[in-house]
Subunit: 603 residues, 2 copies
Amino acid sequence: MAGLPFRIDLEDIRFVLYDQLDIDQELTKIPKYEAFTQDVYEAMLDEGARISRDVLYPINGPGDREGCKLDRDGNVTTPSGFKEAWKVQAEGGWIGLSAPPEVGGVGLPHSVTMAVTEMFCGAAMAYQMYPGLTAAAARVIHKYAPEAWRQPIAERMFTGKWAGTMCLTEAGAGSDVGENRCKATPVAGEEGAYLLDGEKIFISGGDSDVAPDNIIHMILARTPNSPPGTKGLSLFLAPKFIFDENFDSTTRNGAYVVGIEEKMGIHGSATCTLALGDRGPCKAWLVGREHAGIEIMFLLMNEARIGVGVQGLALASTAHQFAKAYAAERLQGSSFEKWKDPTAPRVPISLHPDVRRMLMTQKVYAETLRSLTYRMGHRFDLAENDPAQHDRLIGQVELVVPVLKAFGTDIAFEMSAMGVQILGGYGFIGEYPMEQLVRDAKITSLYEGTNGIQAMDLIGRKLRIGNGALFIEWMKDANTECGLAKAAGFASEADAVEKAIGQLAQTTMHLGGLGAQGRLDLALVQAYPYLRMFGTVQLAVEALIQARVAARVIAEKGSTPHLAGKALNLRFYVRNLLPQATALAKSIQSNDDSCLDPALFQA
Amino acid sequence: MAGLPFRIDLEDIRFVLYDQLDIDQELTKIPKYEAFTQDVYEAMLDEGARISRDVLYPINGPGDREGCKLDRDGNVTTPSGFKEAWKVQAEGGWIGLSAPPEVGGVGLPHSVTMAVTEMFCGAAMAYQMYPGLTAAAARVIHKYAPEAWRQPIAERMFTGKWAGTMCLTEAGAGSDVGENRCKATPVAGEEGAYLLDGEKIFISGGDSDVAPDNIIHMILARTPNSPPGTKGLSLFLAPKFIFDENFDSTTRNGAYVVGIEEKMGIHGSATCTLALGDRGPCKAWLVGREHAGIEIMFLLMNEARIGVGVQGLALASTAHQFAKAYAAERLQGSSFEKWKDPTAPRVPISLHPDVRRMLMTQKVYAETLRSLTYRMGHRFDLAENDPAQHDRLIGQVELVVPVLKAFGTDIAFEMSAMGVQILGGYGFIGEYPMEQLVRDAKITSLYEGTNGIQAMDLIGRKLRIGNGALFIEWMKDANTECGLAKAAGFASEADAVEKAIGQLAQTTMHLGGLGAQGRLDLALVQAYPYLRMFGTVQLAVEALIQARVAARVIAEKGSTPHLAGKALNLRFYVRNLLPQATALAKSIQSNDDSCLDPALFQA
C-alpha cells in the first residue's frame, strides 16, 4: 500500500454550502449571483474536485522532490507539470473565480470560491500559491492601478496570461514592515513613473515559467523625503517586461531574481530574492496615492489572511482524509478485546481506540474550521450586496480574521503532525504524502503576519475597535447559537459552550483591564494564549451550529453517517477539546510576569 | 546573520549533575565509580562539548542536505565527515561511555553518559544514531551472545571497530512485533547456527561506511514450529562479513541493503531495507535461548526508550539555545512601550513579550526535561550498586519511562516548531538550523514504540504492576517533594503541584475503575491524554525540585541569573503550563465514547 488515495470531503463541503449557509437559496436573491443555481455550483465543485485529483495532486509530491531551479538570467523553472496545471486552470477560468466577469473572472461568491480553493490547496499547496498570489495582485491592480491599466492588466492576470507577486518583505523588514528601505525615485517628466532600488526577500513566485508573457510585481517602496515607518510607504507596479500600449512586452525590466531559498516545505513554490535596479534600471509605476501603500495593503489584508486560513483548513482536511484512508486499510494488531491472543485476526488500525481518538480530533477540527472559514466567506458575499448590513458583517469578519488565520494554521500543523503519528513510521517516509503536509503547513503560521502578530492584532486592534463593540456583537451571536442549539436538543453541550463564552468574555475584560492599568506588557505576554482560547471557543460554536443544522436535515431527509457525525463532533469537542479554554483562561488571568524578568534571555 | 551559533547549556547540565544529583559526592561512594572525581567529569563534559561543537555540529546541516547513498552491492555511503566524526569518537572512547572497561568502555555512570549523549544528539542527531545503535547492539551481545563472542565482539563495537544495528521491524510488523515473519532455519550439524530468510525495514544504519570492518545485525526471527506472536520470536546475530576465529572477516554474508528511504528528517541516518538470504545465504547465530527474543528486547527497552527521551531533551534544548541566540541579535520593531513611534530605536526581538513567552516555554520544558531524564539515569546508577534499593529504584524508572519517552519527544517536536516560530520566516529556511530540528524531531515520537504505544504501556502495564504499587510509590515521592519545596519557600507553587498530583491520582483511579468495569475501550481512548497529563504533572515536580535546589545553592554561594531562573521557571510552569493538567483530567474523566461510534472511519 504505497501512497494514499487523494480524497476531498465533498459531502462536508456541500453540507456547509447548502445545508448550513443555504447559498443555493439565499444568494440567488442577490442580483449578481442570480444565475448561480445549485446546478452551477455542483458543476464547479465537481470539476474543481476533478482538477484537484487528476491535475494538481499528481504534481504535488514530485514537485516537492524536484523543487524549483534558477538560471543565471534570473529565470525560475517550476517543477514538471506546474506549467501544464496552470494552463488547465487558466483556460478553465479557475484563477479569477471570484473576480468580476469584466476582467475575465467567473464572479462566483466568496464562499464557493473558498470551497474550490480549499480543494486546490489540499491537492497541491505549493503549486496553488502561483495562481493565488497572481489573483491577489490582480485584485490590487483592478482597484488601484492607473486607470487605463486596471482592466487590461487585471484581465491578463485573472485569465492566467500574466502572473503576479506581492513584494513586501526585506531582510531587515519582516514583521516590521515600516522598516522597508527600498527606494523609489521619480522619473523626471514621466508622471507616475519611478525607478526602484533595493532588495526584496521571501517573494513567492518572484519569478516562474507558468506565465512566460509577463509577471507583475506589486512592491512597497519609499519615495524621497517620506516620513519614517509604514506611513512613508507607497505601492508600485513593476513588470518583469516593460510593455507597450498594446500590453505587448518590449524590454526586460531591472527586477531580477538573484536567489531562491532552500526551505522546509512548499518546495514547488519559488521563494525568491528579487534585486531591484541592480542589473539595469527597474522601472515602476505608482499604484494609488503616494504614501498610501500600507493603507492599500490593509484593505487587502483580511482577504489575504482568510486565504491563509483556507490553506490551513485544506491541509487539516487533507491530513485527515489521508489518515482515515490509511487507518482503514492498514492491518496491525488484534482488536483490543483479544490483545492477549496472538492468533486473533489482525484488524485495521482504525479500530484501535487511540487511533480513533486521533482521527476524531482531526475530523472535528477540519469540519469546524470549514464551518468557520466558509461562514466568513459567506459574510463577505452578504456584506458586498447589503449596504445596511455591510459594516456589521465586515466588522465580525475583521474580529475573527486573526483567529481564523493563526488558530487555523496552528491547528493545521498539529493535525498534519497527528496524521504522521497515525501512519506511524510510514508517516515519516517520503513515499507517503503525510510528512510533506507537515513541512508545507509550517509556512502558514509564518507568512501574512506571523501568528504572534495575529494575536497582537486581535488584542491590540480588533478588541479595541469601538471599545470592544465587535466582541460584544460576537458574544451576542455566539449566545444566540447556544440558544438555538438548546432548542434543537443539545442542551448539555450548549450549556458548556455558553459557559466557555462567558469565560472568554471575562478573560477579554481582564485583558482590557490590564491595558487600562498600563500593564500592556502582561497583556502582550498572553496575546497568543488568548487567541488560542478564542479559537477554541469559536470552533465549539461552529460544532454547535453544525449539530443543529444536521439535526434539522436529518429530520427532513433522514440520517446519514456524515450527518449523524455532527452530533458526535459536538460531543467530542465539548468533552475533549473545549476544556483547554478553561486552562487558558486560568493562565491568562494569572498575570504571570516571570518571563519578563530582565535577567532572562540576554543572549 | 546567516546560521546560528551552536551552544550547549553546560551551566544547567552541571547544575543537575552536581547541585541536584550531587554525583561528585554521592557516586564516589560506589566502588566502581570511586575514581570519578568532579575533575574527571569536568574533563569529559568539556571535551564532549568541544567534540559536539567542533566535530559534530559542523556535519549536521551538510549531512542533512547530502543524505546517504546506496550502491548496487548494498553498501551505504554516509554524508561527508561522518566517517571522520566516528573516528574521533572511536579513538576517544565516546561510543562505550557507560560500558565496562573490560569491553573497551569508560565505565561512566549513566547520568553522566546521558549528559554527553545529550550534547552529541543536540549537535548531530542523525549522525549520533550510528554510535547509539552500535552501543545498544553491543550491550545485547555483551550479555547474551555465545560466551566466546561476548567480550571480543562487544569490545570491537564499543571501540568503534565494528558497527551494529537492531532489526525488528518488517513491512507487516511495526507496532505489532509479534507479526514478524522472518524465518530462521537451523544449519544441520552446526550448533546455534541458522540461515535467515526474510526482509527487515526501517533499519537505522542497516549499512554504513563508518566502520568498514564489519557490521553486526541483531535480528528478530522465527524458528521452525514456533508459536505465533511475540513468544515465538528468537534473537539472532548476523554479521555483514562472516568472521574467522580471529574475528577477521572472510566472506560477505547474505544480509544486503536493497533500499534506503527518502524521509522527512534524519537524512544523515541511513534507514535501510535489509534483505536476508536473498542474495546468497544469510548465516546467523542464536543469541540467548530460542524464543527468548522478545524477553531480551524487553530487558533493553527501558534503556532504549530513555535513549529516545535523551534525544528529545537534546532537541528541545538545542532549539531553545538557537532561538535564544537569534532573538538576542535580531532587531525588529520598537519596544512595545513606543510602538506608535516609527523613529524609536529597533530592539532585539527577545524584548517582545510574545517572544519572551515562547522562549520561556522552551527554557522551562528543556530544563525540567533535563532534570527528569538525568534523574532516571541516576536511579540506574544507584540501583545497579545497591541491591537493597534496586527494585524500588528500577520500578520507579519503569513507571516513568513511557512518560519520558512519549511526553518528552512530543514536547521536543513542539519546542522545535516553536523555535521556527520565534525565527519567523527565517525559521522555515534551510540556511538556519531550526527547520531541520523539527524534521529530525518527528521520528522520536514514532520509533522505539510510537507514543500511542507508550501510552498503552503506561496504563495497561506500568499502572497495573503490583496493583498500582508503582504509582502509589511515585505519588509518595512527589508529595514529599511538595513538602520540601514548601519548607524552602515555594508554598503557593507547591500547593498547586500538590493539587495536580491529587488530580492525577484521582484520574488514575478513574482509569483503573474503567478497566474493572470492562470498559477498557474508554480507558484506551484516554491513554495518550492520560500520559500527557502525567508528563505535565511530572515536569511540575521537576520544576519544584530544581527551584528548591537552586534556593539552597543561592543561600550557600550567592545567586546567578541561571540559579535565579529556577524560581521563575517554577512560577511560569505552575501558572502557564500546569493548568493543562486540569483540562486533561476533565477530558479523561468525561468517559466520552463519541469517537468509538462504529459508523465512523469506515474508510
